[in-house]
């Protein structure tokens, strides 16, 4: 008998006591499940079921007293009257236990009434949420200070407030056998290519997985090339970044319970851009973009170039510098390659420790870290001071990139290139770089070549790569394969107003 009660497929019994037994069996051992008894019109027995903490209990109590005062017609008519009265609330009907459980886990309350073989769902979901705060991982000097939170609805609302057009579409889908996580694809109809949206939907609905706890779980399943060190979607917690990308014809994937939204498709160059670029003066942003490109190369190649030059091409180092390097390396027992490996590994370990450690211990780590990487290591004769400098510069350089995900990929790629440089000098370094470029040339993000607009070449879009063009200069939207691109609204800036006119 109990086995039958556990089945979600059974019919809802019209007898209230039987339904209670059915519900109790389903909710056995769910200590957070609660029920409230009520008498509709002081005549008909009913039960509210809900989960503690997910439902607005005050409002539920009000409803409970409300329905006790209803006038219910005598005789067989009362069934219809309940149905009529109940629609006055934000309420719908449900016919199966499966649906009922779904609604309860969403925070809604279920009302079961004697004599009905269905239940009513009251939308009363309400739970504690984190307030909207500064985005922690992507801070800017100038720009909006709000970041996404763990609540999907809040995140969507933040976006909807920014793009106030009905053409901003949100398609919902549920992923995860157990978590039933809500995932929403957002895009602007008319700007995003329909094929792109279709492809994202296809890839998302193909996911079969127990649980989705963070957008990273999804990212793994939908990216084009899972065996690549490079991120093929941007994850961001900034609504303005998302809005900007939607306006360029991209799509966003929100996941419930995480502040990180995914943006697709992207290219390597969109990972090098920060939303702040567009808020600063264009010359300054252009300068900063160049700085980023430079330090992208530094982060990737500095230690390997140092190893290669010091091991194989000493003649390329100016003699005065070479002498001082030689002097500081005199007492070092390791070859440059080993030295570089020790220091880079040490740096990565310190960085990771800095992220993980509780705030109270953080200060201790930075002191110890400074000693390990700095003065003490040098005076102990483990590493030379030029090596310390190279590692420090490399470390700084990798944090210059506005997206953490690309920074970490190049930090990882640094090690194989270092090994190549240690074996074959500059030739090895070059082989490593060619290898990376071959890989990047073949990589795509939802059909968009990863190195576009440089390769394949789309000269029209270079403006946004080599500089940060002023608004009226960048009217062409990016051509994200297949989608038409098209032009943005806008004309050349006009000098309006009297004070601008020359006498």
């Amino acid at each position: 008998m109990t086995a039958a009660f556990h089945s979600h497929d059974q019919a809802i019994s019209p007898h209230i006591d039987q339904v209670r037994a059915q519900m109790e069996a389903l909710l056995a051992d769910c200590s957070d499940a609660a029920y409230l008894e009520c008498m509709i019109g002081k005549k008909v027995k009913g039960f509210f079921y809900y989960f503690n903490g997910l439902t607005n209990e005050e409002r539920l109590n009000e409803i409970r007293y409300d329905i006790a005062d209803w006038n219910i017609d005598e005789g067989s008519e009362w069934l219809e009257s309940i149905a009529q009265e109940v629609t006055a609330f934000n309420c719908s009907r449900t016919d199966s236990f499966t649906d009922m459980m779904d609604q309860m886990t969403l925070g809604n309350a279920i009302l079961l009434v004697d004599g009905n073989d269905f239940g009513y769902v009251f939308s009363l979901s309400e739970w504690r949420k984190r307030a909207i705060e500064d985005p922690v991982a992507e801070s800017v000097i100038r720009g909006p200070r709000e970041g996404f939170t763990e609540s999907l609805d809040d995140n969507i609302a933040m976006l909807r407030r920014r793009i106030r057009k009905s053409s901003l579409k949100m398609k919902g889908i549920e992923i995860g056998e157990y978590t039933k996580t809500r995932v929403v694809i957002g895009f602007i109809e008319g700007l995003a290519a329909p094929e792109l949206i279709q492809e994202i939907e296809e890839r998302l609905s193909a996911i079969v997985i127990d649980g989705v706890l963070e957008s990273g779980n999804i990212e793994e399943y939908i990216e084009d090339q899972p065996y690549s060190p490079f991120p093929q979607l941007i994850s961001t917690e900034r609504p303005d970044t998302v809005a900007g990308n939607l306006l360029e014809g991209r799509a966003v994937i929100f996941t419930d319970h995480t502040p990180f939204a995914l943006i697709a498709p992207i290219s390597l160059f969109s990972l090098m851009q920060s939303p702040e670029d567009y808020y600063q003066r264009f010359m300054i942003s252009t300068f900063i973009r160049w700085l980023r490109y430079l330090f992208f190369l530094v982060a990737l190649l500095a230690p390997s170039a140092y190893v290669a030059l010091l091991t194989y091409h000493q003649e390329m180092i100016p003699s005065a510098l070479l002498l001082s390097i030689a002097k500081s390396r005199e007492s070092i027992p390791f070859p440059a390659l080993v030295e570089a490996f020790i220091m880079e590994t040490m740096f990565e370990a310190l960085r990771e420790a800095g992220v993980r450690l509780p705030k109270q211990v953080g200060a201790a780590v930075s002191i110890v870290g400074a000693l390990v990487i700095g003065q003490a290591a040098t005076s102990a004769g483990l590493v030379s001071s030029p090596m310390v400098m190279v590692v420090a510069i490399t470390g700084i350089a990798s944090f210059l990139l506005p997206h953490y995900s690309i920074g970490i990929s190049i930090r990882l790629l640094r090690f194989p290139i270092m090994l190549m440089a240690g074996m074959l000098g500059l030739l090895g370094l070059l082989i490593g770089v060619i290898g990376i470029v071959i890989h990047l040339s073949g990589l795509r993000s939802f059909g968009v070549p990863y190195l576009s607009p440089i390769a394949p070449m789309m000269v029209g879009e270079w403006k946004d790569v080599v500089m940060r063009p002023q608004g009226w200069l960048s009217r062409q939207r990016p051509r994200l394969t297949r989608s038409g691109g098209g032009f943005r609204k806008g004309e050349r800036r006009k000098n309006v107003g009297t004070s601008n006119r020359r006498e």
């Binding site: 194989y312 500059l426 030739l427 060619i434 290898g435 470029v437 040339s441 394949p456 070449m457």
Partner: protein, 368 residues
């Protein structure tokens, strides 16, 4: 393997690099030996071969069914003769590639990595090439779009940095020894230009073949200009002693010294050359792989990447006992050999195919 397609412009960039990669480094020495002070004229005259080859290749492409040269051979000469001709043509290309690869390896080993075995240098390069060939022509073209501008820029920078050291009077008097030496040098330069024939295999993969005529001729012009710049720079710097060096531009780069610290940029020249050779070898590699796949109708060309790579690796060493043998071959029979294979053979095929088609259509008319 997704057999990607590329644009005419992308093919033009690749073509630009496969001709230039070895010629900029090797040519000045050979053309000085043959043409003396007038060596700088050889690229200009030699470019005629380039234009002719482009014309010939486009003609052949239009004649070929589905643009496949091998199908044209089979269609014209019958199955067995046609297939054996295509096998011979591919073996010829493998031979040329083996010479190029060996040359690259010897350059690196003799100038930089004296103790590293040449097998490592060549093996590493072929591995990279195999990777890009596996990715397909599209990946190769994109890699080219990233690197080839950098290569060209670096080559030009080296020439510009040498500017203060140049002595323009080196090239005077002109026509010192008459026209004959110039013609000899021109033929050698033609030996480089005729490698354009390789694109015969790539043209079917080009999205907009119609505009390739323009891009092809433009590329030959651009190659000529680059060769001219390199030749003039080297010759004005070293005069007739250019002939004594194997890699004159490399030697020339040793003259660069600025502000007491910007000197010894030979390693940069090496890197530029390695990049250039990477494209040349992978382009040949791709063509050979595609040629074999078409000849033996292999449905999945990707499975050929590793076997072809091994064949190339070993043929690089079967080629000759030492580099001197290769050098002798290049300077004696090499030019005629490469021109025969890359220009005269396709030209004969073109003539015979045309005649056969004429006769064929004549017969068809007679029957009607």
């Amino acid at each position: 393997m997704v057999q990607g397609r590329i644009s005419a412009f992308q093919l033009a960039i690749l073509m630009f690099q496969i001709i230039l990669s070895s010629s900029v480094l090797l040519m000045p020495s050979i053309s000085t030996t043959l043409s003396g002070k007038d060596m700088w004229m050889t690229p200009i005259l030699g470019s005629v071969t380039g234009y002719l080859t482009i014309w010939l290749v486009l003609k052949l492409h239009h004649l070929s069914p589905n643009g496949s040269f091998i199908k044209l051979l089979v269609g014209t000469f019958g199955k067995w003769i046609g297939l054996s001709m295509s096998v011979a043509f591919i073996i010829f290309q493998i031979h040329i590639l083996a010479i190029t690869t060996r040359d690259y390896g010897e350059f690196i080993v003799t100038n930089f990595y004296l103790k590293t075995p040449i097998q490592v240098i060549i093996g590493a390069m072929l591995l990279l090439c195999a990777w890009v060939v596996k990715g397909g022509i599209e990946v190769m073209a994109r890699t080219g779009q990233i690197f080839i501008p950098i290569i060209t820029f670096c080559t030009l920078i080296i020439c510009i940095l040498l500017f203060p050291e140049l002595n323009p009077s080196e090239i005077l008097p002109m026509f010192e020894r008459g026209v004959q030496p110039i013609m000899k040098g021109t033929i050698v330069v033609g030996g480089w230009f005729c490698q354009v024939t390789l694109i015969l295999f790539i043209l079917p993969l080009v999205k907009d073949v119609k505009v390739f005529r323009k891009w092809g001729y433009l590329t030959v012009t651009a190659i000529t200009v680059m060769m001219l710049i390199a030749n003039l720079t080297v010759f004005m710097l070293m005069g007739e002693s250019t002939a004594f060096f194997n890699y004159p531009l490399f030697t020339a780069s040793r003259y660069i010294a600025y502000a007491e610290f910007f000197e010894h940029v030979e390693a940069v020249v090496m890197m530029v050359w390695v990049l250039g050779e990477f494209f040349k070898i992978s382009f040949y590699y791709f063509v050979i792989q595609k040629g074999i796949a078409e000849t033996f109708t292999v449905t999945k060309p990707a499975i050929l990447v590793v076997p072809v790579g091994l064949l190339l690796f070993t043929s690089t060493f079967w080629l000759a006992r030492d580099f001197r043998m290769i050098g002798e071959f290049i300077s004696n029979a090499g030019t005629l050999y490469i021109i025969t294979g890359n220009v005269i053979f396709p030209f004969l095929v073109y003539c015979i195919a045309r005649i056969k088609r004429k006769i064929g259509s004549g017969q068809a008319q007679n029957k009607a």
